[in-house]
Symmetry: D2
Subunit: 368 residues, 4 copies
């Protein structure tokens, strides 16, 4: 396409804003529309990012001839219906993580997009984070030998929006929300090798009054080639967002700290505007970050996806990758529930991953 | 006792040397004897540390009226017989980790020392490492709130002495050799709370031609009070010894890196004598450590134990603690073998922990 | 201008390549031509960056109607003549640091560009380095109170190209080549406050057989508002490029390490392709950087300058800033030569800063 | 001496306490007496450390037959009179830094002790700090090649006791109080090579209402062998005590951070008892130190000195070293006052170093 790719965004909160900025930074695309349930949100979003059209009707936006690509940046339970609508309307899809709520939805999304000959792109930004890209290059180059242990971890003190805590909307807790990053990251580092088993330890330590879901987890994955991976996730860690990875191999090891490692170490008696996401405060010592969205790979991710649309190329991260992550998440929740390692493939028919950890009957019983 | 406590050491290698130096640093004790199977080793050890008596007969030394305390710094399979002999001879015992090979031995050791009214002290030096002592104080003071996740990790590229790799002598691989540190560390941080379950992922990634045992492991423990602990152990990590811990709580978090965090960051084109244990080399960049044994808490540990003997006080770390660690190790190996979480108590009657991971029949079969 | 800004580059080595890439990243500009003394260099540069025209005649290129802006990325002694030619031809100028060889040249360059109504932009990329931009924001916001001490330092083990070591071409050694960064950085942090005095300690520790210039320096500057600044420069530091800054104030302090602070900490037994500029090697431990040019602010700098040309705005860093830096450098060399603090203004008529440190007569005498 | 060395301490505040603890840790000595002007202080000090005798009369204590060694841990202006008294009474002296107020006093102290055949030991603990000891070993071993630049820095937000701010008692500000550490440290690293020149930049940024002295300084020293050294001192740095050094050489470089580098990185929402000296607060992020006095080398220093007394050996750091440091401090203050490098030797007859920066006449004039 010579003309700019026209992008419609569903959602108006945090990650939708990040994607809007990323689209604005990519010269070959333009923001065409935004849709969000609350009119106020949609309208101020449109003003803020100079989006020509806004509405509270995502489906109408998706069907509009004015857009070519839909970015789905809305709660997890909307991912499948919106993707199916987009495929039906012949629009390419960039879908935020996690892909959707269950494997049946995932299969339907992949199939529909395939039939409609549109791209289903899975928005895992860690595959584009410059520091992690360099880390993968180190591994690929043989600098570390054969990988034996991969680690990735994301920890902060919990999201704000209510839908994260409502497992009917989210499908699970922190493992669903952030463990998906780690699982995709491990698959990407190992060039999409198959996961053979998943073990998980899940707990609700602090947010039990807010959610049925897990707020801390450890997930151990075994890969086909023999490598082991460990994901650590937390919604209860104070002191600011923490995102880091390690790659251990037979010839070396590499430690990559995405935030605290990159920050300015600052002491301010008075405090100041902003240190890093979820910092909690800036008085005293803080770790001051900058260019966070670039650091995470968000603009690079969107630029890549839009380029794939323009040039009809295969995206780095697809719906199939999103499904593979979701499958591992179902196994993780099942493992936490049963206290044993779960082998893959694991084609669970459960509606939501969290149901395999704490059966929904319990939810009903305990809330009555 | 006003007169110095007289110490006999069984063993003449790495940790025996460290203990000898520690005894020398403690004014209220004196090195009286050393015993080691190889005459040469025992003799040069005696010369090096000015020990008046050396022999190749540990039992004779233990029975000698010239000693009050035995330090057992010899391979794992000798811990039980030597401790029983010491108890019989009315000598106090400082026993290196892991306590012994199995729970029957542990029970016999504890019982014999109790009967003989001698102290059975378990040499877990991490309980004395100054940085970790400060970390525990932080936790105890409430600075971090209620603990939710504890982490401890020790990684290097493998021990040298052959007995570590011979599971008949050692009882297991890296989990046995270094996982015991983490398990004791977690119990100590939580004031000896009960472990309720253990899950473990074990692998032999690199040393498979040398040993039947594990050379990498991840161990997840659940504690009675709800806290989760994660131990990471490795005999395949290059670049020098790495020892670190984290404490996550409801009000904070603390990261303690015992070695790399404390080191001098050095670049030397030519290289130099020594950076840190198992550094692998000193050319280019290295992390130069200093006062390593003090940093690990070895002299403080021995001073404490000898003081307990002098003043008839209860040691910080006892044979019961050593047994609790061993029990968790049996559960860890069983977990790795079965792919499921093992609940405690776990009074295994297996002869060696590794047998629960890979049955000894396999060992025989594969080596024929 | 709606049409792309057309850029001609003089130079074909390291920094010229960086600028070429930056121009390519900016959508509103295009690379039109490159000129370099050696035909081979100019030609392969043109091939590599898809530049339509190449030649060995910078003056012809400058006068070509096919370009709007000249980037001068050639040795220091060419900066003035090329800028005057550009002004005469009505072209805007982006001039690499240091501005030129002496204050007379600087005045001529500023005057000529002013007369010709073209912009003279001084390419100090540290004013665009994202981490340093955030650092300035911290200071500007009051987070650190009133600044008392600023520090900036750049150290590596020496440039490769011969012209750096030939003071006839360069004007000085490391202070001229890298001290200029720090001086500009301090002025920028303090919003172009006046420097009132300069003291400098200069040495030639290692490169004495290659150059008449300094290879290590400490430069102490006093600013009008009372703040003190300390620059440390070195061409003799092994282990890789090191670039860092500190801002101390009455309410706080901030430490910003641009490279080692941002890197992946890697151990590789075998080594690998590249860690960081001037790393020296990658075997063993290294600090692996990524996106270095972005990290330094190069593409952001060029984008800003080209935007200023497009939209006729005042650039952040101008020829006047470059002259102020040069004046401080003359004072620094004079200070090193006299062993005393030099007050500013210091309108030296010397031909090259290094002449105030070691009189050229000495150079002649010693080389005969 | 077989009997314990009996120690009398003059002083009862911070550093006197540290020395008392150090004496208690050394088995070959005993605390015999303490003297301090305020009876309350002397008495509670005696209670706290179980010192048999306390008084408000240092001279009487010094002359007592019950002591063998005097530790002078009282304000700077008392160092000379007390040392002379000690020498006259035939007592060995451990004198805190800086040695005294001026070179005449220094000469008298050295001469008196020499005549009386008693040791004059200069308490520069950085020569015993384990991390710095290792750093010197690295340099001595050739790992870093020939030294080109040494750096040492101590920064916090100012002492509490009033006498530090009274230049009549102290002789100067932060350069006198903490610059002496760096100067001694550099001499020690270079095996007591001669200092050939000193340049200094001094400022009073924050404490001008409290003191006539400097509260920030940069001191540049040239050494006979060609090495340059840079000391940075501050009484205005917030966020906790900071103590670090760097050694740059022709074959390498080493960075040693004594406190923040060794600390536990802690986030605590509530805060806790103590992070590090002068931390300012413990809520939010802090750098938790432990065993600070050991880390600084205080007990090792006292053990060394007392051993020298016992075994009649030459101490590592003597009164002559203290005099050399003081001479450099006089040169530093002169340099700051004149804005030029001062060559050594510099046998100033000024009464106090600060007088060479700001003549006392100004002090009188400005305070009238």
């Amino acid at each position: 396409m010579a003309t700019p790719v026209r992008v419609g965004i569903v959602g108006s909160q945090f990650v939708a804003s990040i994607h809007a900025e990323s689209v604005l930074r990519y010269p070959g695309a333009a923001l065409a529309a935004v849709a969000s349930p609350t009119a106020q949100h949609a309208q101020s979003f449109a003003e803020r990012f100079h989006v020509p059209h806004w509405s509270t009707d995502p489906l109408a936006m998706i069907q509009s001839p004015e857009i070519d690509v839909v970015i789905i940046a809305s709660p997890n339970d909307t991912h499948a219906p919106l993707t199916l609508a987009a495929a039906q309307a012949g629009k390419h899809v960039i879908c935020e993580k996690p892909l959707c709520l269950n494997l049946a939805e995932a299969d339907a999304m992949i199939s529909a997009c395939h039939q409609a000959n549109v791209k289903l792109m899975y928005a895992e930004e860690l595959c584009f984070a410059p520091k992690y890209v360099r880390l993968k290059q180190l591994l690929d180059s043989g600098a570390l030998g054969r990988p034996t242990l991969l680690k990735q971890s994301e920890k902060h003190d919990g999201p704000h929006a209510a839908h994260f805590y409502d497992v009917n909307r989210s499908g699970g807790g922190v493992s669903m929300d952030m463990g998906c990053h780690a699982i995709a990251f491990f698959r990407w580092l190992l060039n999409n090798q198959r996961i053979t088993s998943v073990y998980s330890q899940m707990n609700t330590f602090v947010h039990g009054n807010q959610t049925w879901g897990d707020d801390n987890s450890l997930i151990v994955l075994e890969f086909e080639g023999g490598c082991v991976a460990l994901a650590e996730e937390s919604w209860t860690k104070l002191g600011g967002m923490d995102d880091r990875a390690e790659v251990h191999g037979t010839q070396g090891v590499a430690y990559a700290d995405l935030l605290r490692g990159n920050s300015i170490e600052t002491y301010s008696r008075t405090g100041y505007d902003y240190a890093v996401e979820k910092a909690g405060g800036t008085q005293g010592w803080s770790f001051t970050m900058y260019e966070e969205t670039w650091n995470y790979g968000f603009p690079q991710e969107i630029a890549h996806f839009l380029e794939c649309v323009r040039d009809d190329k295969t995206p780095l991260v697809t719906g199939e990758d999103g499904r593979a992550v979701l499958e591992a998440l179902f196994a993780a929740y099942a493992s936490a529930g049963q206290g044993r390692k779960i082998s893959l493939p694991f084609n669970s028919q459960a509606k939501r991953p969290v149901d395999l950890w704490k059966p929904p009957e319990d939810e009903l019983r305990l809330s009555s």
